[in-house]
Structures are given as structure tokens and as C-alpha cells.
């Protein structure tokens, strides 16, 4: 007849836990918990460099997925004839919108490449310690920013 004894002990323990919880509640623990400020302003949250690198890796990947059909159209047209090839080469650098688009796209590609290489190195346990990982994240972010800057200068 061991089961009822265990069950009774369990009930006693449960009552005790409830009592302790109630005591904490009276003390004001629950009240204080409810009054904690909620602070969710995305512009003021400071993410560590690794988190910024990661979210930009995703964002650039999403952008690159979206422009796959554009790349295929360009490949098709560039291979169709010499005239078409020259027309593409002439028009791709003209117009503010197309230059901006091209610079952003190439920078996204370079950034995605660099951030991906960083992850492959991390997978191989290279630079896995936090300080090194933060530094490589900053390096990758800087590479992307410099790429965007240089592409902007080159295209203008």
C-alpha cells in the first residue's frame, strides 16, 4: 500500500508550495513583476555585431532570391546576340535607379558571400570564441559597407 502514502505526501508538498507562493504574492513579488517596463523600440535596441551580421545575411539572401529571375533574363538576353549584349552593356550603367539597383545587388552578393564564408569557418571551429567571432562579424559588416561604397563610386 505504498501508493496512497506517496500521493498523500505529494499533496502535502503541493499545499506547501502554494503557501510559499501566496506568501511571495503578499510580499508584492507579483505586483513588481507586472510593473516592469516593456521596452521594444527596434531603433534603440543595440544588437551585438554577430546578430547584425546574421540578420543582414538573411536580408541579403532574401533579396538575392527575389532577383533570380532578373539574373536569368539578363543571362538570356546577353547570350542572344551581339547587338543585345552591347545594348545591355550600355544601358546597365545609365539611369539613377538602375545604377542604385545594380550597386545594391552586387553589394548584397559580396556581403552574402563574405558572411557565408565566415559561417563556414565557424563551422570548422575557426574563430569560434566570442571575441574572435565578434571581430569577424565586424570585419564582414565593414567589407559589405566598403563594397557598397566602392560600387557606388565606380558606377557613378
Amino acid at each position: 500500500m505504498a501508493v496512497p502514502i506517496v500521493s498523500h505526501a505529494g499533496k502535502c508538498l503541493y499545499s506547501l508550495v502554494k503557501l510559499i507562493r501566496f506568501a511571495f504574492f503578499l510580499q508584492g513579488g507579483c505586483v513588481r513583476k507586472q510593473q516592469r517596463p516593456v521596452f521594444l523600440n527596434p531603433l534603440k535596441i543595440r544588437l551585438p555585431a554577430g546578430a547584425v551580421a546574421s540578420i543582414l545575411h538573411r536580408a541579403s539572401g532574401l533579396l538575392l532570391f527575389a532577383v533570380i529571375p532578373v539574373a536569368l533574363v539578363l543571362l538570356q538576353r546577353s547570350l542572344s546576340s551581339a547587338d543585345e549584349f552591347d545594348r545591355l552593356a550600355d544601358t546597365s550603367g545609365s539611369g539613377v535607379a538602375s545604377r542604385l539597383f545594380l550597386a545594391l545587388l552586387l553589394a548584397a552578393m559580396i556581403y552574402h558571400f563574405c558572411a557565408g564564408m565566415r559561417i563556414l569557418l565557424l563551422d570548422m571551429d575557426i574563430g569560434l570564441a566570442l571575441p574572435q567571432a565578434r571581430n569577424s562579424a565586424r570585419f564582414v559588416l565593414a567589407a559589405g559597407a566598403i563594397a557598397l561604397l566602392l560600387l557606388g563610386v565606380w558606377l557613378w
Partner: protein, 115 residues
């Protein structure tokens, strides 16, 4: 996570590996393409067309496209799994991505072999 053993589905490692292998393949292709364009600066139609007339380049490009499809599928699925919590909408997005990628792949085959 309720009542589900870790690693029970067994697709996590395979997708993780597929993402890495396809990334390496695409990285090699991109490095090759950039060095080709830099070596033939300013790029002329003859060089460009000549490159894609070679059988090995067509196969290399097709491998790149297959890698791209696998990589994009894993990446897009990860994004949807993290941010879209409605099962119905997520399923629809998965179907749209898969159909789009299959179309892109067939389109690439057509570009590479029928011109």
C-alpha cells in the same frame, strides 16, 4: 517541441550539410566568373558567348543552378519557419518557392542548351 524527440525528423543535418555544400559550389563558380570577367576586361560578346558555348561551362552553370535551388530552398524555408507562424500561409509560401525554383532551373536549362 511537445513530445518530440530531438533529431526525430532527421532532416536537420542533411539540410545543414546541403546548404554548406551548395554554398561552396556556388562560391567556386562566382570566383571563376569574376576572374573570367576581370581577365577579359572590357568584356566582349565573343568571349562571353564562347564561354557559354563550351560543354563544361554549361554543365558547370547547371551545377551552379542546382546548388542555388537547394541553397535558396533551405534559406527561404528557414526564414519562413522563423517568422511565419500560420501553418497555412507557411505551407503556401513553401509551395510557391519550390515551384519558382523548379521553373528557374528548367529556364536555366533552356537558356544554356537551346540558344
Amino acid at each position: 517541441m511537445v513530445g518530440r524527440a530531438v533529431g526525430g525528423a532527421r532532416y536537420g543535418l542533411r539540410d545543414w550539410l546541403a546548404q554548406r555544400v551548395s554554398a561552396l559550389l556556388m562560391a567556386i563558380y562566382m570566383v571563376f566568373m569574376v576572374s573570367f570577367v576581370v581577365a577579359h576586361r572590357p568584356l566582349q560578346y565573343g568571349d562571353w558567348k564562347g564561354l557559354f558555348d563550351q560543354a563544361w561551362m554549361r554543365i558547370f552553370s547547371l551545377l551552379f543552378m542546382i546548388g542555388l535551388c537547394i541553397h535558396a530552398w533551405v534559406g527561404m524555408r528557414n526564414i519562413f519557419m522563423d517568422y511565419v507562424h500560420s501553418t497555412g500561409i507557411r505551407l503556401l509560401q513553401h509551395v510557391v518557392v519550390i515551384v519558382a525554383l523548379v521553373v528557374y532551373l528548367l529556364w536555366a536549362v533552356q537558356i544554356l542548351w537551346s540558344l
